[in-house]
């Protein structure tokens, strides 16, 4: 069917076209250094987009991810100071997961629309980060700085960075979760038609809480990556990245209405956004126009999706 063909592969064609255009118009794009750099730049939004994919497929939004990211990063640094680097890493991911779970409980139990509930919680969480840090930048102890930053180093695998591998791992887990588990099936069903899912014996609240927990874990991991790159953390870390993550998910072709989508799509969406930004750098274009292009791209992706749906007579 034409509808499925365009929807499934249009974005991949766009990504390939972008890559070809950049290879032809610059001499620097196809160098190892640049490609490693592109992947590394895609990591933070990529991690957030993995969790966001599950949320959006499940029919909910998580606007609290960047705030969760900040709190997790701050907690990771503070725990590192008192208990060492491994404990700090673990605490960062655990904080993200716990906060995500809490968000899930609030959304599931309050029955407030997730958009509003997570918007409110993101303000609460951001405030929490300010309270914990007292508004200051927090650092690991001087002796810990090197091991703490090791998460952001290149590896022996063609100098691909550790964060890139972390993203690959997290994406694989999220992909399996969504595509191969019974929980994933429930996520699709709840996002597609919550009432039909409920009347088929799917318990909706636990499913929603689970996707928020995954989203929180992804945000916590992203917080670790940012903190280890910077060698510090602060309350304002990663502000507004949730919007970039949602944009990447939507550009990838995951339905904003829920019930349809895939993790790989969001990764493609993240790469498209990263390549655009990389292209502006390599071509020496004025970066002020970058946002205009990105915004139009999001609009185009959603409009295309809607047009294809209508022409196919979808509900």
């Amino acid at each position: 069917m034409r509808y499925t063909a365009v929807r499934d592969h249009g974005i991949v064609v766009a990504l390939a076209g972008l890559a070809v255009a950049l290879s032809l118009s610059t001499s620097t794009f196809l160098t190892t250094g640049n490609l490693v750099n592109v992947l590394d730049q895609a990591v933070v939004v990529g991690l957030l987009a993995c969790g966001m994919t599950l949320c959006i497929v499940c029919g909910v939004f998580d606007l609290s991810v960047s705030a969760v990211l900040a709190v997790s990063a701050v907690v990771a640094v503070l725990v590192t100071r008192s208990a060492g680097v491994p404990a700090g890493y673990a605490a960062g991911v655990a904080t993200g997961t716990l906060m995500g779970t809490a968000t899930g409980f609030v959304v599931a139990l309050s029955r407030v629309h997730s958009f509003i509930a997570t918007l409110a919680l993101s303000i609460v969480y951001r405030g929490l980060a300010v309270v914990i840090t007292g508004g200051a930048i927090v650092y690991p102890r001087a002796a810990q700085l090197d091991p703490f930053q090791s998460l952001s180093y290149p590896t022996v695998l063609g100098r691909v960075t550790v964060p890139t591998l972390v993203l690959a791992g997290v994406a694989a887990v999220c992909w399996l979760l969504l595509a191969a588990t019974t929980l994933g099936r429930a996520v699709f069903a709840v996002g597609g038609n919550a009432e039909a899912a409920r009347l088929s014996g799917v318990r909706i609240a636990p499913v929603r809480i689970a996707v928020f927990a995954v989203s929180g874990a992804c945000a916590g991991t992203a917080g670790l990556v940012l903190a280890s790159r910077a060698g510090s953390a602060q309350a304002g870390l990663g502000s507004l990245l949730e919007l970039t993550a949602i944009a990447a998910v939507v550009i990838g072709g995951t339905s904003i209405l829920g019930g349809e989508g895939a993790v790989w799509r969001s990764l493609v969406g993240v790469l498209v956004l990263t390549l655009i930004s990389n292209g502006f750098n390599l071509l020496g274009w004025d970066p002020t126009y970058k946002q205009v292009i990105e915004g139009l791209l999001i609009l185009a992706a959603v409009t295309l999706d809607r047009l294809l749906r209508r022409s196919a007579g979808a509900p």
Binding site: A180, R185, F188, G192, L199, V202, R203, E260, A312
Partner: protein, 488 residues
């Protein structure tokens, strides 16, 4: 003014709703449009009024082809639709609703109110133009919509099942108004209705649709209700239903309900269904049929009462307990409650039995494929890999049944088993229900079509105002059932 629909075709996804339908409407006449659920009556009316765009065919006004891309276009040509519930803006006054969309955002002035009051008086409505529309009872909301059509100077008015929700006296008044509009004012009126007698009474000409096709158009004077019924169904009416197997005397009671209640919808329903027995629930709109089924399944929380399935009490307010005891619910609306339309039919079939095929949290794909293939083959549903919305209504409905068949249910609660499916699929669903009962499944089935309940069930319980008002054996007359249900 004459309006002709010429060769209208319309499809949604994989379903053809209208297929080359032609109807000619004339000023001064009331034109009846009848057909079963899903025959395409409402879609045709919506095409006429610009609410739905046809895939094929054209609309001619006084012989000239016109493009009706929106209700606004249709209104400009003097064509208006009046819906069953009345499409009104609840927060605005009656007068504002009548003038809605005629000029800017201005509220009605006192001159307008007078004009509307005069218009209402002429139509025989007692409506206060300054009343808040949302506070009006259903009858009056419909009147607001009719006034809106008249205020715009509509020359063609389509009434979509205008009497379905009205008490008898109000329905009679509305039909008289339809006749007046045609005879006195020379309007062309389209009347869509399920009540065949009233159609024959009120209309000059009647068109019958079946499965989206035009069957016949004839003067009402030459037709009897039986003629219409035969044309609607396409075969002699009485051979339609399969004879259910008799229930063995020693068949155990599978479902037992006592004193079931919730709000004003269900007020103390008690019933028993034995293994292999089909029990029908009949009743008018609002009698509590759907609510009763949902309460038994645990879809809603009950205020009082006891539900026992296979000797075990069902507690809790989620369907999981009833499902664990072997119950399944085929809900009233497959699009809203039965299916996840954006997902494949296969995923829908698997949805209710996912935990049965889980290993370490993963779906056992091979087991799933064989379970789905078996059920889909039994039901004759093809193309299970495609999204459910691309399936025909009949296949969608069978998929909802299939979701439960994968689990081998002990008790099936069925609400409106054949709403919006074509005649062939309808017969298939009926055979399916009879076949399940023959294999020992207890079936509790509610339907708004009394003939369906009477034709399929071993016995029929009639609900009225949330209580069981009577019980009839198989073969009872539809008249008696409807009288007990409170009609007329």
């Amino acid at each position: 003014m004459d309006v002709a629909l010429d060769g209208i075709g319309k499809g949604y996804g994989g379903t053809t709703v209208l297929d080359g339908v032609s109807v000619a409407l004339r000023g001064g006449r009331v034109h009846g449009l009848v057909g079963e659920n899903g025959a395409g009556k409402s879609t045709l009316a919506r095409v006429l009024c610009g609410a739905v765009r046809a895939d094929a065919g054209r609309v001619l006004v006084d012989g000239e082809p016109v493009a009706l891309r929106s209700p606004r276009d249709a209104l400009r040509h003097g064509i208006a639709l009046v819906t069953q519930e009345g499409a009104i803006v609840p927060g605005l006054s009656v007068a504002d609703n009548v003038l809605l969309g005629t000029r800017g955002a201005l509220r009605a002035r006192s001159a307008d109110r007078d004009r509307i009051a005069a218009l209402a008086a002429r139509a025989g409505f007692a409506l206060d133009p300054s009343a808040r529309a949302g506070d009006l009872p259903l009858v009056h909301r419909q009147q607001v919509e009719i006034l809106r059509a008249l205020a715009r100077g509509a020359r063609v008015i389509a009434l979509d099942e205008p009497t379905a929700l009205l008490p008898a006296p109000a329905a009679r008044r509305l039909l008289r108004l339809a006749r007046d509009l045609a005879e006195r004012d020379g309007l062309a009126v389209v009347l869509i209705s399920h009540r065949l007698e009233e159609v024959l009474d009120a209309c000059d000409t009647v068109t019958v649709l079946r499965d989206g096709r035009h069957v016949t158009t004839a003067p009402a004077a030459d037709l009897t209700p039986r003629d219409l019924l035969r044309a609607m169904v396409g075969r002699p009416v009485d051979v339609l239903y399969p004879e259910p197997e008799p229930v063995p005397d020693d068949a155990p009671v599978v479902l037992s309900v006592r004193g079931l209640a919730r709000g004003t919808a269900v007020r103390g329903v008690g019933l028993d269904v034995r293994a292999g027995e089909i029990v029908g629930l009949a009743g008018l709109v609002g009698s509590g049929r759907t609510e009763t089924l949902r309460l038994i399944f645990g879809a809603d929380r009950r205020d009082a009462g006891e539900v026992t399935i296979a000797g075990r009490r069902v507690a809790g307010r989620s369907p999981s307990r009833a499902m664990a005891l072997g119950a399944g619910l085929v809900p009233e609306s497959r699009a809203e409650q039965g299916l996840v339309l954006v997902r494949s039919a296969a995923e829908n079939l698997a949805l209710a039995s996912l935990p049965e095929r889980r290993r370490f949290g993963f779906v056992r794909r091979r087991a799933e494929r064989s379970a789905i293939t078996e059920t889909a083959d039994t039901l004759g549903v093809g193309g299970v890999g495609r999204p459910a919305w691309t399936l025909s209504g009949g296949n969608q409905q069978r998929t909802v049944f299939g979701k439960w068949l994968v689990r081998s249910p002990r008790l099936l609660l069925v609400d409106e088993p054949t709403r919006g499916v074509d005649v062939a699929a309808k017969a298939h669903v009926h055979r399916l229900i009879a076949g399940l009962a023959a294999r020992g499944v207890a079936v509790l089935m509610a339907s708004s079509e009394v003939e369906e309940v009477l034709g399929l069930a071993h016995r029929v319980l009639v609900l009225r105002d949330g209580r069981v008002a009577g019980e009839f054996p198989r073969g009872a007359s539809a008249e008696d059932v409807l009288t007990t249900a409170g009609l007329r």
